[in-house]
């Protein structure tokens, strides 16, 4: 044992003499991170990405990114003898003739779904707890970029096998390119090397899928994680946690063990899913030819909201001066995602401007304590969900025996009515929860025990809540709306940018008009001294 320790020490010493690593390791190993399950959602995305790199590398060993037509001679009988692209033939080979190929394909595809889904849930956690506030706006933007790129990466990935479903997807992508005013036709011809489908695009998107985009991902993820390290992780409010400290466990050994274990759990769950549940059964779709199409042509879920926007958009085209402007494509494919992602990316700056709050924040918000932000977030999620569901309108129609036209009209109306409604409902729920929190602090918990007093009166026994809970319920600030600055400054000179400040005051009112002020110690003491339980 002593010899082992000595040789380990020798090796560490050799490394330290060359790289000066001891100081770095000592500091990093003691780095403290707060603990909560919701902080592990981003980890799921990170680990899925590693799984994607590993399984993806395996798949490249056999996949041929070529559209050269070959007769199929592999072992899947219902496709035997058909001519198909080498891309599709090699995907079939991976699925049926390469040992472990099918499960690798399925792990890769399931990990892709989990990757995007985990990023969405992670961003929702960051949004609703206000973790994007100063100083973490940059990391929020990197996250938005990662989600956007992952949608493109996913689209390219499931298009590579060149099966009927993915070919149909790229037929739509061609239409979207064509709809770009002025340069659309040029872009489409550049991209496909001539008419769709041509013989070039599989090889081209392969390079994007396995080289360019993963490289960008790797760079962005590295910066993302380094920023978390450097700016420290946020923490939920608890006694002893402030904006100036970070309470938790050291990176080594607690998080090295936890994170290492969670990586294997993520890999395990993904593998289990891939072992028992089919994903993207390309052998059933058949090879792609532009003359064929199948019912139920849908993209993977991360493209679903675009598909839904597409299906809801009425057929509106503008014909002028011999040109056609395809608003039926431009609106759902450029304007809708543009609005969604731009507003998502800019939200931290917008909120900072509205609140005028330029302080750093390391203690997280409970979503209910910021009702307007929570409401807006739920509104965005509802919009996304409605679009997602609208993208599956045919599956909904056949599953529930409904008219697809009626469903489409329902969603067309819902997309304008339900999100604002969800905003109002969420905000009201948040305010209600805050009132309840206030009540809990001032009056304690209802125990459900009824007591009869000697005089015959029945009362419910309330139990005071713990100190810790009281802290959690009262630690937050509750800012009021910003006051409108007077039109002139103290010297009587008219202020500039009056309109902007008026707008800001209005939005601030919208944000903070309804608010429940958390009880102060004075409130509680007054109540106690008045003899109320």
């Amino acid at each position: 044992m002593a010899r082992l320790e000595k040789s380990a020490g020798d090796i560490a010493n050799e490394i330290d003499e060359r790289f000066g690593s001891a100081k770095f390791v000592r500091r990093s190993a003691r780095k403290v991170f707060p603990d909560h399950w919701s902080f592990m959602l981003g980890e799921i995305a990170l680990y899925s990405f590693i799984i994607l790199l590993l399984t993806g590398t395996f798949l490249t060993l056999w996949f041929k990114p070529s559209q050269v037509e070959v007769p199929y001679e592999g072992s899947y009988i219902p496709l035997h003898g058909l001519t198909m692209s080498e891309a599709y033939a090699s995907t079939l080979r991976i699925s049926f003739d390469v040992r472990g190929g099918l499960i690798m394909r399925q792990i890769h595809h399931w990990a892709a779904l989990i990757f995007v889904a985990a990023m969405i849930v992670h961003s929702a956690r960051v949004f609703f707890t206000g973790a994007f506030r100063k100083p973490r706006e940059t990391n929020w933007l990197i996250g938005v970029a990662l989600i956007t790129l992952s949608i493109i990466e996913g689209l390219l990935g499931y298009s590579l096998p060149d099966d009927l479903l993915s070919g149909t997807g790229f037929r739509i992508a061609e239409g979207v390119l064509l709809a770009i005013p002025v340069v659309g036709t040029y872009l489409s011809f550049f991209f496909f090397g001539g008419q769709f489908p041509g013989e070039d695009f599989i090889a081209r998107i392969y390079t994007f899928h396995v080289l360019l985009l993963p490289g960008i991902f790797l760079a962005l993820i590295t910066v993302h994680v380094m920023l978390v390290w450097y700016q420290k992780h946020t923490q939920y409010p608890l006694p002893g946690r402030t904006e100036k400290n970070s309470v938790g466990y050291p990176f080594f050994p607690v998080y090295t063990a936890k994170a290492g274990g969670f990586f294997f759990i993520t890999f395990g769950v993904t593998t289990l899913l891939a072992a028992f549940v089919t994903i993207n059964p390309v052998w059933l779709f058949g090879p792609y030819t532009p003359t064929q199409v199948t019912a139920g042509s849908q993209p993977d879920f991360y493209m679903g909201f675009l598909e839904g926007a597409f299906r809801l958009m009425p057929n509106w085209e503008i014909h002028a001066l011999g040109y056609t402007l395809s608003m039926n494509i431009i609106v759902p494919c450029f304007i809708v995602p543009g609005l969604l992602f731009t507003s998502m990316g800019l939200y931290p700056m917008i909120e900072r401007w509205v609140t005028g709050d330029n302080r750093e924040h390391h203690v997280l918000d409970r979503p209910r304590n910021v009702p307007t932000r929570t409401g807006l977030g739920v509104m965005a999620l509802t919009t996304w969900l409605i679009l997602l569901a609208a993208g599956a309108n045919d599956v909904i129609a056949i599953t529930f025996h409904l008219s697809i036209n009626a469903i489409t009209w329902f969603f067309r109306i819902a997309i304008f009515v339900v999100p604002p409604l969800s905003y109002v409902v969420t905000k009201r729920i948040c305010l209600g929860l805050q009132r309840r929190d206030r009540d809990l602090v001032l009056h304690g918990r209802e125990t459900g025990r009824i007591m009869r007093l000697p005089n015959g009166e029945m009362i419910e026994v309330h139990e005071p809540i713990s100190e810790t809970q009281r802290y959690i319920l009262t630690a937050h600030e509750s800012p009021g709306p910003l006051e409108l600055e007077p039109a002139t400054d103290p010297n009587g000179i008219p202020r500039r940018r009056v309109l902007a400040s008026k707008l800001r005051a209005r939005i601030s009112r919208f944000y903070f008009e309804d608010r429940i002020v958390p009880p102060t110690p004075t409130d509680a003491r007054e109540l106690e001294s008045s003899g109320h339980h």
Binding site: W110, V277, I279
Partner: protein, 269 residues
């Protein structure tokens, strides 16, 4: 009993927790639903096998009693149903054999249900309707023998002509205004053939002159091969494409991982 008293005591202490009523309600609902699913009477399979010789007269009697209120006393049709002169025996065998006729109610589309007549009665009805005017006949055994048919070729024909409505694996698909292309899972070769021959409801007609008898057998071979082959990738999720995959990815994949995260994040007691 003492063995039980400890966990029971722990359970009893939980009953005043905040989520106890909700959990109880969910358990009760689950039990009720489960019990209903287990004990609900299942529809009885139709079995009766008549064995008497059928004549045109029997067919006409059956027609008058069961079909004439919509299709007319003289098979001339009415506002509720088309004339059946010239639809052929294949059409009758398909519509009545799949239970679509007699229709329970008019709607966006007449739905498949339990077969209402015995095969002999259907044959009598078919013979009667066929006697009124020439139309496609019920396919013979030879026409339906797909043992030597080319499934791969059938797949190509299927994807070119059928998949846009019935989906790549014959799982069905939605059409306009509540109409739909039904699932082809478990449909007999005879009924698939007859449907192509007669084009029921929204379906186009594929006569033998444009889609040969061999093509039809190839299609049937493709459907039967892909439907009976074991699913190589595990659960097939209904073979309807990425919608159910997305649902499974969220619920099983991410849901399972979040459950693990909650478990890992829980404080050790």
């Amino acid at each position: 009993m003492r063995l039980l008293s400890k966990p029971l005591g722990a359970l009893s202490r939980q009953r005043r927790r905040r989520f106890a009523p909700m959990v109880l309600l969910l358990v009760a609902l689950g039990l009720t639903g489960g019990a209903y699913a287990a004990f609900a009477p299942s529809p009885q399979a139709a079995a009766a096998t008549g064995a008497s010789a059928q004549t045109l007269k029997d067919g006409r009697d059956l027609y008058l009693r069961n079909c004439s209120s919509c299709h007319g006393l003289n098979v001339e049709g009415s506002s509720d149903g088309p004339t059946l002169v010239g639809v052929g025996a294949a059409s009758v065998d398909f519509q009545v054999g799949t239970g679509r006729m007699p229709a329970a109610q008019l709607g966006a589309q007449i739905q498949q249900k339990r077969q209402q007549f015995t095969q002999e009665e259907i044959q009598a009805l078919a013979a009667y309707i066929a006697s009124l005017g020439p139309g496609p006949a019920i396919p013979s055994k030879d026409q339906l023998d797909y043992a030597d048919a080319d499934a791969a070729q059938g797949g190509q024909i299927y994807r070119t002509n059928c998949a846009m409505c019935h989906n790549f694996a014959g799982s069905g698909g939605a059409l306009t205004r509540g109409k739909y292309a039904p699932s082809l899972q478990g449909v007999s070769p005879k009924h698939i053939y007859e449907a192509m021959l007669t084009g029921p409801q929204s379906m186009p007609v594929f006569p033998d002159t444009t889609m040969t008898s061999q093509d039809k057998r190839d299609i049937i071979a493709f459907l039967k091969t892909t439907q009976t082959e074991p699913s190589p990738g595990g659960l097939a999720l209904g073979k309807v494409g990425p919608v159910t995959e997305g649902l499974a990815g969220w619920l099983l994949g991410l849901g399972g991982l979040i459950a693990c995260a909650v478990w890992l994040g829980a404080k050790a007691r």
